[in-house]
Symmetry: C2
Subunit: 940 residues, 2 copies
Amino acid sequence: MAKSSRGKSRTKSTKSRAATRAPAKSKTRKVVDRARKYVYAFGGGRADGTAAMKNLLGGKGANLAEMAGMGLPVPPGFTISTEVCTYYYANRRTYPAELKKQVAQHLARIESLVGRNFGDPVRPLLVSVRSGARASMPGMMDTVLNLGLNDATVQGLIADSKNERFAWDSYRRFVQMYGDVVLGLKPEDPKQADPFEEILERKKQARGAKLDTELTAADLKELVAEFKAVIKEKKGTDFPSDPHQQLWGAIGAVFGSWQNARAITYRRLYGIPDEWGTAVNVQAMVFGNLGDDCATGVGFSRDPATGERRFYGDFLVNAQGEDVVAGIRTPQPLSKAAAIEDAAAQGIAEADRLPALEEIMPDLYKQLTKIAAQLEKHYRDMQDIEFTIERGRLYMLQTRNGKRTAHAAIKIAVDMVKERLIDRDTAIARVEPSSIDQLLHPGLDPKAEKTLIAKGVAASPGAVAGEVVFSADDAEAAAASSKKVILVRVETSPEDIHGMSVAEGILTARGGKASHAAVVARGMGKSCVAGCSDLDIRYDGEYFLARGSIRVGRGEWITLDGSTGEVFLGKVPTVQTEGESGDFAILMSWADKARRLKIRTNADTPKDAAVARKFGAEGIGLCRTEHMFFEAERIDVVREMILAADTDGRERALAKLLPMQRGDFIAIFREMNGLPVTIRLLDPPLHEFLPQTDADTNELAAKIGVDAGTLRARRDQLHELNPMLGLRGCRLGIVYPEIYRMQVRAIMEAACTVAREGAKVIPEIMIPLVGHVNELARLRKSSDELSRAIIAETGQKVAYTIGTMVEVPRACLTADEIAREAEFFSFGTNDLTQMGFGLSRDDAATFLPQYVESGILPGDPFASLDEGGIGQLLEMGVRKGRGARAGLKIGICGEHGGDPSSIAFCHRIGLDYVSCSPYRVPVARLAAAQAAIAGTRKKP
Amino acid sequence: MAKSSRGKSRTKSTKSRAATRAPAKSKTRKVVDRARKYVYAFGGGRADGTAAMKNLLGGKGANLAEMAGMGLPVPPGFTISTEVCTYYYANRRTYPAELKKQVAQHLARIESLVGRNFGDPVRPLLVSVRSGARASMPGMMDTVLNLGLNDATVQGLIADSKNERFAWDSYRRFVQMYGDVVLGLKPEDPKQADPFEEILERKKQARGAKLDTELTAADLKELVAEFKAVIKEKKGTDFPSDPHQQLWGAIGAVFGSWQNARAITYRRLYGIPDEWGTAVNVQAMVFGNLGDDCATGVGFSRDPATGERRFYGDFLVNAQGEDVVAGIRTPQPLSKAAAIEDAAAQGIAEADRLPALEEIMPDLYKQLTKIAAQLEKHYRDMQDIEFTIERGRLYMLQTRNGKRTAHAAIKIAVDMVKERLIDRDTAIARVEPSSIDQLLHPGLDPKAEKTLIAKGVAASPGAVAGEVVFSADDAEAAAASSKKVILVRVETSPEDIHGMSVAEGILTARGGKASHAAVVARGMGKSCVAGCSDLDIRYDGEYFLARGSIRVGRGEWITLDGSTGEVFLGKVPTVQTEGESGDFAILMSWADKARRLKIRTNADTPKDAAVARKFGAEGIGLCRTEHMFFEAERIDVVREMILAADTDGRERALAKLLPMQRGDFIAIFREMNGLPVTIRLLDPPLHEFLPQTDADTNELAAKIGVDAGTLRARRDQLHELNPMLGLRGCRLGIVYPEIYRMQVRAIMEAACTVAREGAKVIPEIMIPLVGHVNELARLRKSSDELSRAIIAETGQKVAYTIGTMVEVPRACLTADEIAREAEFFSFGTNDLTQMGFGLSRDDAATFLPQYVESGILPGDPFASLDEGGIGQLLEMGVRKGRGARAGLKIGICGEHGGDPSSIAFCHRIGLDYVSCSPYRVPVARLAAAQAAIAGTRKKP
């Protein structure tokens, strides 16, 4: 189905592309072609373009055109379209013949609108030149401001502004920007000094000035000369004084920047096609720093932190945009109410506070709020605007959809539906699924003082503080005396589970989002910062060094923020968040109606199951029985089982484990009354359960009364070179059939017990690591026979199913054969990625980060499913599986089940459900809804 | 292409099946249907069937019919067709209504032909009942002879044979066989005693007899009664005295045996469909043990050991077929010439030797040789015949294509082409490729005395003897003093390479055909017995225990036969074999003309390259540069490189390695003048090169002047949980670009040097472990730039190509993308199998043997390619790869490149070449020719 609908959309897009291309191709239209439009005007009450023309005008150009078209006060300008960029690269960096004329015409239009002329020494027109691609690209060319200044026009600016210092400062800034950006004097390596900054610094030293503002007009004039001299020296040519030469230099620099190394890397990382190209925006300058009747600021049509419906923003009187950003002066709130609030919060007396824009320029404030409201209604989304007031006149410089916190995003989306601005589907699509994670976990108090000592991978969200411990046993001991601890390890292994389960959070020096520590932490809902390579952990000395010098010993407090990957010294206060209520609950209820995918959870304990159910899980997609094996009182019995010399010995140990496992399943089935529970039979290699060091082995030997030599020999015998590809999963079930027999018995006896209590039990027995249908056929048969026998024994009917985890590439290749024996499939995409990519997630830290940084891989394939490669295996599995067994239930239980883009993929290929860790369930519900909506929208 | 041709053949076979089925389906043919033929007569100068009717009559029945149809003296009989077996199972173990009548009619025909009647107490007809399926199935029912005897008919046999003892012995044997086979009294467990054998044993003790033949007629008569009593006791019913009841009992037993456990397991193992069913052959008995005018024997139309064209075989006067097999009496040669030769060889005086059949029954001998020649001409293959002479009359009981040694197979095939009996393609197809391995390696002297002490996996062929050593260092030391040694290890690792390279052979306790020891040994052309689990190796005591009790210490001699997996005590003499000359050379020249696949070799040294070229290799398909790294004087430089703290340190060590590698490549290029050489850049994880134990690490530290702690830390840092999926292959090339740079430089400088000498150098640089096209794109670009630079530097043109090893499943899935960057593909099917199956070949020994034995897998996927699963990845790689780059050169360089069935698969999917270890090259050439011939024949 997914295929055919994609096929359709392809046909359609080909058609529409053909339609667009037709006129250009037609020879009879050659005359029209020659007069092809490359330049689009905006401002002066009209615009050639609209917001819908982003492909042609870029994001910035399209929004400027839209504002101008709405009649808003936009300084006039024009956009040179992305087609010119395409032409430029297709024609050895030359322009279409007609471009020059069109630019000249549009420049003349600006001149007439603002009543200034380009290069006029009396009333000079100054412009800004900015790049603007379809998608925002931070790696692109910077802005050039004040273009048009030279030794002659600066005099006009002095006369015009009546401010000599302002004029020379503008000139000095222009020469610097032009030299850096257009002439390429800005060093590639950020550690190298900018030649202009060096001169500026020397000048300030010579003048005893601390701030740029302390330099006089004369100083600045000297700087202009010195800047020009350095250009002459470095480039061998004079700084161009002709404004037209300046303009074409800047235009060429923008187009040239499309193929600079940073931009290429950025495009590769974000999958932006080279063919898109960039547009160039040329716009008349307006100044917010000509005096006290001038100002510049930014505003949001609603509060981006809370989502409240109130105009919100900051401004500075007599300042340029960059001053707001530079943070030298503190910007003031726009509204009086906010100004009063802020002052109160900072303990400033009402009399001492700075006035709001609402107070000093009430009319302009009113005009601004009106425009903000108008833009919001127009774009049907919260707007982030930039404005400048030049001598009492308001100019709009930019509008775009505003960034917001998760909390605000939800409130705004829900409010806008109530206000009938948007529909529910749009509201759902507006909230970034991964952002809502922060609503479910405690966060750091934003007001608290913090000392950042290291940064790693944000592996499992939540902010927590605790005393440092370096071993699972210490964690357990400390927790026993009610201490809060952070378990710090180079990396964790299944042996550390007991320590992890009692720790507040886990911090590791190695491994990424898919490392053992990360996966287990997310499963437990614990905070985790992983792969923190800044740490040098010294187990022997019981301390770690952060960044080579900060020494943190056992028992000292640290704080982790698992949502950002940050590690802080000491105990940073945290704030609890709201959970699923209010607007969040409303939005989620809409999402639940919109989605087709079911959301299950990966839960190994009744506690996890309860948490997940609270978060809306519709079943357990993966219950890993091995985690139960690690619990303190059991591990020795498990070890006894593993170390048994023969089947009888194993059976004896398994008989002890049976009631324990049955008890686990009873509790889980009770918790999940009415919902399906997929239980995976034992999966990991047995040696994971054994002690690793000789000392631990000897200790265990003494404890369970086995000869230490025998124990070490058995441990070594179980050692594997590549355990991931060794004796594990269904292979264990075939070599030691008694293990799976015990587990199936525990599951079915528990199911019958809970069913007899009146609950609805839906057990799904999952056989892991199947690579060949015969493995499944054999284990299914024996499990089926045993299950029937138990149902017959107990006389209690329970509808169970037996399926398999599809995690070996060969299982996907032969999914048709396997489906004949499987009542359900669950994709184990962690292992599928590991095997399909030949990539051990435990060992990938040595090269995977470099792969992602340098653009070899678009991202960590353990975080987001590799759709182009591993995704093919999933598609094959679905197609072949359902081909052999119509309506086969198929889900995913790998880590990808909680990743929004992977969830969208799962939706598209027709899975029935995704399963993720309990705290990811709401994220998955929202992502599934968005995928369904995107699918609906793509149809017709 | 492969797909469409398969599609076609499917259509065709459906059609032909429909055509066959049509008459049976037609309702108007109901009358004919009712009279459907289920029983086919043979003998008496005619037959209902032919050799072509194996599907209906089974192999034995079809050949009996063929011989009868040729007019040869076959005792008359009939075959109940396999259709009855199918009917039997489709209809709850009942027979078609008309079967009884047809059997009766055909029984009557036998009676009239031999002039005896079934159940007649005066001239009783006795018959044999045998199963006979389409394919030979050793797990099926045994034969029942002498059926038709009872207390009445035995008297007729006595009168007829004039030999009371013979008659009672026949009766006694019949009751025993019937009880064992038809009544099921033979115990399933071979360790349990047969009840009849127990009685027989007691009787012999009571009579003081050592041999059965010492029992009298009266004893045998008593035994018949006692045998019947035990049947009555165990089965609760009397032994059936009615011959018809006996006959139907035996027929039912044959059909029933089709579904016994042994037969089911056998079919699963050999992929024989359940639907085939078995036929039943009922044939009049003839006796070779009625007196001195009787005999029985076997013959071959040519000598099965040498292939010489002479009638060859053994016989016994006055004996039954089973006596020849039992070996109680020594059979005599059929021909006088052979009898004289044998006597001379055994030092028997001409006067004392036993006469040949040619001497005592010259007419019958002449008749027999004529028949043998006739059969050989008829079947166009060497025949293995069974005959019986009853009272001066010759009967043919069986003919089939005879088994033969590899040497004989080649001679017979070549001779038959010369005799115009067969064409060259048939000759090529007649020789089992894997059998010719024995012609290339020394074998054990067949006449030598041997003491077998253990048996493992036949991992690398060749028979060798040497003193036992337990470490690579000891091997090296012993070899330095010219001792021949066998390196005995639990398993080997790359650290053992220096020891393996000087040892005569390698014996390991763990690992299979694809273990490190096996792969390296085959690559080196060394004999290897791997996975010999009978061994208990005690490194500390420097000895091993074979089978728990045989103690072999360091310095003691043992002998390995790598072709059989056998291990012998002491020094067993070996014999050198002929190599590629004479008939072998002729056959191989035909094969070379017939094949389409090119055959290359996996060779890491000039020596290997020379050997392979001698064996007909047409290039090097895999030159593993890492093996060069392990050489004694280099390993420390390699370690210095790995342990370097930074790039500079690595570069310094690499600079030392450069001339060494360049020297290697120069020697190899010279050796391979005119042929392509594929060189794989460094592939294994770096820690493989480092010492494993702390002691070794400390020793190295002292040697290279590095702090031992630092060294251990670096070693631990490089440690990986799953090294196969870790930092290796092209990942090394990306993380440490200087390593590949050095290697590419070494290759290209060597190529330019040798090209300047006038040789033709065709280097193919292979980048391993590519999973994503970007990996290859980056490394190809840098390697390409460097190669061009070196060509420019040296001014010597060399046509090189850069391609990739396709060994990660994702590379197959995205082969279209990867092909855009690759000038060739080489499938690394070892890793592809490991990753695709999720199966570490180093760790699979704990379950893989059980998988194969119990039929979960049809065989070891590392020995023969898993066509149904991993094969799909190869097909995908070929289809997508050539789809993106027409004519892309594709080969295979995994272990499968030397496996005949995998070679056939490679031919079918259109690969250009296979590459295998030097000693497998002739095997591969022959297998490739057979694949090409099979492909041609399949076409219409």
